[in-house]
Symmetry: C3
Subunit: 291 residues, 3 copies
C-alpha cells in the first residue's frame, strides 16, 4: 500500500483542480470560443451575450449533467469564485489591449501546456460524474456512464444547442451523428471508471486516474504536435463494428432480394462499413452514391 | 365486490406489463423508427446515434413526464433490464440477417397483436402518470391531466424535438398544431382517469382501466384493418367547438366591420370551423384562401 | 419606523397581486399574443394550441425560473385559480363576439392602466425570484440575479423558444443578442434587489419596491404615450462600455498590426462602440461594413 508508486498516484489523484488546472481549462475554452468566426466582433457589440456563451463553454459539461440529473442548471453560478475566474479570463482574452493574450496563446508550448492541463481536468470531471451518478442510482451503471460522459464531453453539446437556438448553426444529420475523438475517449474513460466503481475492474481508482490521464494528455499532445487526427481506436472500432454489424454481409444476397426500397441504402453502407472508420471519404462517397 | 366480473377486471388491472407487453411496445416503436426514410442506413453508419433515437422512441413518454416534473430524465436508464430489452429488440430489428424481423413484422396479424398490446401499455402509462402527478400535487387536476397525457403520448413530442435538433425535421406551424388521433384519445383517457382519481367518477379504477383498454385496442385494430383514420370524436369535437367557438358566427356582420386586418383570417376560418374536423381539406383550402 | 411614509410603502409592498394585477398582467400578455400575425386565425383552427401559447405568455417567467432551479415547470398548473383566470381572459379576448375586448383594449387609457399594473407585477416577480433563489443558495448572488431576471423578463425567452420549435420564428444572432428595454430594466431591478437582499443596500425592501415600481410604471407609461423607445440607460451604458471596453481604443494602432484576420471586425466595431447605444443604425452600418 505504501509503495512510493502508490503514494505518487494517490497524491496525484488528490491534486486540487482549483486554481491552475481550472484556469487552463477556462483559457482553452475561451480561446476556442474566440477563434470562432465573428466571436470577437460579437464581444464588442454585446459583451453580455459573449460572456454568457463563454460561461457555457467553460461550464457546459456540468450544466448538461445537472440537466440530466434534474439538478439546478444554474448551480455553477453559486460557485462565485470559479465564475469570476472564468469571467476575468474571458475579459482579458477578449479585451486585453494589443490582444496580448492571443499572442501569448499563439505560441505552441503555451497551447500544449494549457491543452494538457485541460485534459487532466477531463479525468477529474469523468470521475466526479460517475461517483455523483452512483450516489443517485446505486449500480445504475448506464446512468453512471452517461453522466460521466456528459460531464466530461457535454460542453460541445450545450454550445451546439446554444448556437442552434441563436440560429448561427444549421445542424445536419451528419454533423450530429459522428462523434469527435474527444467524445469517444471520454466515453471510453466513463465506461472504464464505471466498471472500476462497480468493482468490475481490479485496480485502485487513483492508479486508474493516473494511467487514464497520462493516456489522455499523451494522445492530445501528440495530435497537436503532429497535427494529425490519429485514431487510436480505429482498429478497435473496426473489429467491434465487424463483430456487431459486419457479419450480416454474408447474407447480402438474400438481403438483396428480401428487401426492396430503403434497405438498399443499408446494405450499401454495410459493405462500406468495415473501412468506414479508416477512411471517412470512402463512407462519404458511398453514402453519396446510395442517397 | 367478489363478483366474477370484478375479479376479472381486477386481475386484468394487475397484469404486469413487464416482459411481453413491454416487448410489444418496444417492437412497435423500433419498427416505426426503422420505417422512417434513411433510418436503416443511419443505423449502419452510426449505430450509437440510432440506438439513442430508438431509446427515445421507446421511453420518450417517461422522459417527457420526468422533464415536466423535474425528475432525472435519465431515470429510465436506471432500469437496466428494460433498457437491455429495448436495445436487443433494436439490434435484432436493425441488424438481423435477411431482415427476418421486418419480414415477420410485415404480416398483418403480427402487427395487429403488437399494436394491440402496445395500446394496453398506453392505459398503464396514463394511469401511472396520473397517480404519480397526484402524489406531487394533491388534487392538482390540471397537472394530473398533463402528466398522464405526457406519459401516454409524449414520445412523439420528444422524437420530433430530437429530429428538430438533428435538423432532419423542419417544423411547420400546421404540423405542430393538429393533434394526432393518438394524442386525442390519450388526452381523453388522461381526463377520465384524473376525474376517477379525484372521485368525480363513481367507477372503480380497475373497471375503468378495463373499459378504456378495450376501447383503445378496438379502435386501434379497427383503424389498422380498415386502414381509414376513423374519427370517433369528430362529431363530439364538432359539437364542442360549435358550443365554445361556433356561436360567435351570428355576430359575423358586426365582427366584419369591427375588425380590420388580421382578424379577417379569424372570421374566415371561423366559418370553416364547424366542418373543419369533418373534412381537413376544406379547412386547408379555407386557410389557404385566407392566408 | 411608524412614520406615515413608512406605513404607506409597507402597505404598498404588502398589496396582493392576486385578482386585479394578475388580471392586468394576463390581459396585456394575451393581447400581445393576439396581435401577433395569424394568432387569431390559429385560435379558431386549433384552440388548444392557442391556449397553450397563451399560458406560456402568461406564466413564462415562472416556468423559466422553475427550469433554471430544477423545479417542476408544470407547477404553475397546480394553481388552478390563476390558470382558470388566465384561460377565461384568453377565451374572452379571442372569442368574444364583435371582438369587444379588443375594442375596449384599443383605448389608450385602458392600455396605460393595464400596462402600468403589469409593471407592478414585474417588481413583485423580481423580488419573489430573488428571495426564492436566496432560499436555495445562501448568498449565491449571481444565482439570485439570474433567477430574479428570469422570473421578471423570462417570458419572452420562453415564447421565443416555443416559436422556434413551432418553426414560425427563424432566429438571427442579432435578435438573440440585443436586449429589449424590458430585459435591461428587469436586470437592473434584479441587481438592486439582490444587493438589498445581501445587505449591501442600506434601504428597507418595501421602500425599494415602492421606488422601483414607481420608476417602472413611469418609464413604461412615458414610453407608451410618447411612443418613443426612450433609453434612460443609454448614457449610463455608454459610460460603462467606455470604461470596460472602450479604453482599448488607444491601442488600436498596435492592435491593427498585431491582429490579422478576424479581429479586424473587433476593432471595426470597437471604434463604433461608444456611439453604438446612442444610434443603432451606426452600429448596424459598421457591422454591415465589417462583415
Amino acid at each position: 500500500m505504501d509503495s512510493p508508486w502508490n503514494e505518487l498516484t494517490l497524491a496525484f489523484s488528490r491534486t486540487s483542480m482549483f486554481p491552475f488546472f481550472d484556469i487552463a481549462h477556462y483559457l482553452v475554452s475561451v480561446m476556442a470560443l474566440k477563434h470562432q468566426p465573428g466571436a470577437a466582433e460579437l464581444a464588442w457589440k454585446n459583451p453580455l451575450s459573449s460572456w454568457f456563451t463563454a460561461m457555457l463553454h467553460c461550464f457546459g459539461g456540468g450544466i448538461l449533467s445537472c440537466v440530466l440529473l434534474a439538478e439546478p442548471p444554474l448551480r455553477f453560478l453559486a460557485n462565485s469564485t470559479n465564475v469570476l475566474l472564468a469571467s476575468s479570463i474571458w475579459y482579458i482574452a477578449f479585451f486585453c489591449p494589443c490582444d496580448l493574450v492571443s499572442q501569448g496563446y499563439s505560441f505552441l508550448p503555451v497551447q500544449l501546456l494549457a491543452a494538457g492541463m485541460k485534459e487532466v481536468t477531463r479525468t477529474w470531471k469523468i470521475v466526479g460524474g460517475v461517483t455523483h451518478a452512483n450516489s443517485y442510482y446505486k449500480n445504475g451503471w448506464i446512468v453512471m456512464i452517461a453522466i460521466g460522459w456528459a460531464r466530461g464531453a457535454g460542453g460541445s453539446i450545450i454550445t451546439n444547442f446554444e448556437q442552434l437556438i441563436k440560429g448561427c448553426w444549421k445542424p445536419e444529420a451528419e454533423e450530429w451523428l459522428k462523434m469527435s475523438y474527444t467524445a469517444k475517449v471520454t466515453l471510453l474513460g466513463s465506461v472504464i471508471f464505471t466498471f472500476q466503481q462497480t468493482k468490475h475492474l481490479a485496480i485502485s481508482r487513483h492508479n486508474l486516474m493516473f494511467f487514464f490521464t497520462v493516456f489522455l494528455v499523451a494522445t492530445k499532445i501528440t495530435m497537436m504536435i503532429t497535427e494529425t487526427a490519429l485514431m487510436p481506436f480505429a482498429c478497435f472500432e473496426d473489429t467491434l463494428s465487424q463483430m456487431l454489424f459486419g457479419w450480416q454481409q454474408k447474407f447480402l444476397p438474400c438481403e438483396k432480394k428480401s428487401e426492396t426500397k430503403s434497405s438498399f441504402n443499408g446494405t450499401g453502407s454495410s459493405t462500406s462499413k468495415p473501412v468506414a472508420n479508416a477512411s471517412e471519404k470512402v463512407k462519404k462517397k458511398h453514402s453519396k452514391k446510395t442517397e
